[in-house]
């Protein structure tokens, strides 16, 4: 149980910090760090850098993007659940 409590506490702490920062209103936008890095590139090159390639396909909306991200998590979670379920079941059988 000790491990579960520690992991739970770490996640709760991260969320508490997030709520604290979000609540203190420092103008945080909670965008992706990669987007911010693109901003840094723009600053460093004084806005002269043009990406030389664009994604072949982009999710048409934020909803569809989150659908595909959830799908990714779900595929992984199914495999993890199957793995532990199968071997735990076999062990106790």
């Amino acid at each position: 149980m000790k491990g579960e409590i520690l992991a739970g506490a770490a996640v709760v702490l991260l969320f508490a910090l997030f709520l604290y920062v979000a609540g203190s209103d420092g103008g945080a936008e909670w965008g992706g760090a990669d987007g911010e890095a693109e901003g840094v590139i723009e600053e460093l090159t004084c806005g002269t850098y043009e990406p030389w390639f664009s994604p072949i396909w982009e999710p048409p909306s934020g909803e569809i993007e989150s659908l595909l991200f959830s799908l990714q998590a779900a595929i992984g979670a199914i495999i993890i659940g199957y793995f532990f379920g199968y071997y735990r079941g076999r062990r106790s059988a």
Binding site: G3, E4, L6, A7, A10, V11, L14, L17, F18, V21, A22, G26, G27, A28, E29, W30, G31, G32, A33, D34, G35, E36, A37, E38, V40, I41, E43, L44, T45, Y49, P51, W52, F53, S54, P55, I56, W57, E58, P59, E65, L68, F69, S70, Q72, A73, I75, G76, A77, I78, I79, I80, F83, F84, Y86, Y87, R88, R91
Partner: protein
């Protein structure tokens, strides 16, 4: 970040990653032939990367980033095989999510699939040699691997975009603030979760990990099984 790595650099990172990915594929084939009992663990390591790298978490810096999950695969299978697992996830994200990118794939495989895993592997081996607690070793390996990944990402961008005033080091500071700083709390969470999942792996597949994979000393493995049982 598609198209954001200019001409010499995207090829450089492709060239550096390619041999390691090929070696990783060779090693996976070897596993499939000679140690089939390890394949479920390989699937687990890949699935772990799938889940963790899909979770964009808010950090204290007011922006979001995601853990990598690569530490687990690196500890069990080593960096080369983990590079292949990361490649699969990175291709999925580049094609279906416009996250990462095909032109930056080489750089991303290098930072997430090679640099991070090498750190995880070395830190884990070092910690175990110095007889540190198993779960603490896993924590440090996954935590430092996560940070290393984003430090290397910052370095990759800094090399491609040296600052006019501060050079590579100047822009390393700028990219590091964006990536590495945001990553610190997420890396801690990743370290703790990776340590937790190893508790379950020890319980159900300790035999494969401890004895056949020669990852742990038999004695240590047995001790841990007793602790976690």
């Amino acid at each position: 970040m598609e198209g954001f790595l200019p001409h010499p650099w995207w090829e450089v990172w492709y060239a550096l990653s390619l041999p390691i990915v090929i070696y990783g594929i060779y090693k996976i084939n070897q596993l499939a032939k000679e140690r089939r009992e390890t394949l479920p663990l390989l699937a687990l390591a890949g699935a772990f990367i799938f889940v963790l790298s899909s979770l964009k978490l808010p950090s204290v810096t007011g922006s979001c980033s995601h853990p990598t999950g690569a530490g687990m695969g690196a500890i069990i299978f080593g960096p080369a095989i983990t590079a292949v697992l990361c490649l699969i996830v990175l291709v999925y994200q580049a094609l279906f999510l416009a996250h990462g990118g095909i032109t930056t794939l080489g750089a991303n495989v290098f930072s997430m699939g090679i640099a991070g895993p090498v750190v995880a592997y070395l830190v884990y081996r070092g910690c175990m040699r110095s007889k540190l607690n198993f779960y603490v070793s896993i924590f440090f390996a996954a935590f430092l691997a996560d940070l290393a990944t984003y430090l290397v990402t910052s370095l990759q961008l800094a090399l491609a975009f040296p600052s006019a005033t501060g050079g590579v080091l100047g822009s390393l500071g700028a990219f590091g603030t964006v990536f590495a700083l945001t990553q610190v709390p997420l890396a801690i969470v990743e370290g703790v979760i990776t340590a937790l999942i190893f508790k379950y792996i020890i319980q159900v597949k300790g035999d494969v990990m401890v004895r056949l994979k020669v990852i742990d000393d038999k004695r240590l493995g047995k001790l841990k099984e007793m602790v976690s049982a």
